[in-house]
Amino acid sequence: MRKKTFAAAALLAAATLTLSACGSGDDATSPVTVVSGDTTNKAATVLDQPFEKPDLVLTDTLGKKYDLRAETKGRPTLIYFGYTHCPDVCPLTMSNIAVAKKALSKADQAKLRVVFVTTDPARDTPSELGKWLKGIDPQFIGLTGDFATIQAGARTLGISIEPTHKDKKTGKTVSVHGTQVMAFSPKTDGGYVLYGENATVDDYTKDLPKIIKGENP
């Protein structure tokens, strides 16, 4: 019995040593634990100080000039910065909004502007963007253009993006997407509600009717 206990204790010690010795394995999983926290109650963050809509003049999916402020003036507008070579969060975010949008009345759907601004303009040409968005919601607006212009526009909303680059170690392409969707009021044209990437279809379904009216969700 005593021997057994000792053996078990030694096993435990060995396991502990193994775990601490291989700390990198722990690091890989620990951020996931944080993400799993229930945040459904605070999908929307209503901002005390709304953001001004960025003064972006870019190119739409038809290759035409698109002046964001002029085109979306007085419209409830959602803006997201992402890229199409993104398998996970970018299509999920846009699909969540697309599904929630379908629950709106036809009239409200016609009012809403959903704008996807690429963070990877070198690969996301107007036609690439158009093809991708068509698979999600053909009414969504896709914008591309000069990266520095896009980055500066994102920065005015507190969204930080970097140019697509090659990783020094692996030589693989690394792109960056924003982690937030910002909603702009049709009444003030100010960016007044922020959604993190944990926002679900249900969150958007619940909130969009209010955003269409410029009300707080």
Binding site: A15, L19, C86, P87, S95, G135, V176, H177, G178, V201
Partner: protein, 153 residues
């Protein structure tokens, strides 16, 4: 067999050898791997898709996921996401008595050049290869584009 191994381990624990063995990946006791919670959100096109799953290791030795392949896709790579940046990695540790989790917003499998666009209801067959354990086959269901595993819809 088992008591014998315990004794060996008990002896080894007294020395520093165990630390080296713990990371060397050559431990004889072995990892015990199983896969759960796998799904693929229906992708926008056949160009690119994401896949998620959890690998649980009940064994006392860590293992390493070294490759993922499927007849349905030309290429499958493993990625980690940190603060919106996605980076390819060549392998992921499966810690002893722990889990390797691929989930939306975190680590993910990236499928490229799929034979056709996977649709909700389809199943993608994957083969996972490890540094130590034998390969595992996973039948990954294709869920809706907005599937959320915590709510199940």
């Amino acid at each position: 067999m088992i008591p014998g191994r315990r004794l060996t381990l008990a002896g080894a624990a007294l020395g520093s050898v165990v630390v080296l063995a713990g990371c060397g990946g050559s431990g004889a006791s072995g990892a015990e791997l199983s896969v759960g919670a796998s799904y693929m959100p229906q992708p926008v096109s056949a160009d690119m898709a994401a896949g998620f799953l959890t690998i649980t290791n009940k064994g006392g030795t860590k293992d390493e996921l070294t490759s993922v392949t499927s007849d349905s896709a030309g290429e499958i790579t493993m990625h980690e996401t940190t603060g919106g940046a996605m980076e390819e990695v060549n392998s992921f540790d499966v810690p002893a008595h722990g889990q390797l989790v691929f989930k939306s917003g975190g680590n993910h499998l990236m499928f490229e050049k799929l034979k056709r666009r996977p649709k909700q209801g389809d199943t993608i067959t994957l083969k996972l290869k490890f540094a130590e354990s034998g390969p595992l086959t996973v039948e990954m269901p294709v869920k809706s584009a907005t599937y959320n595993p915590s709510t199940g819809h």
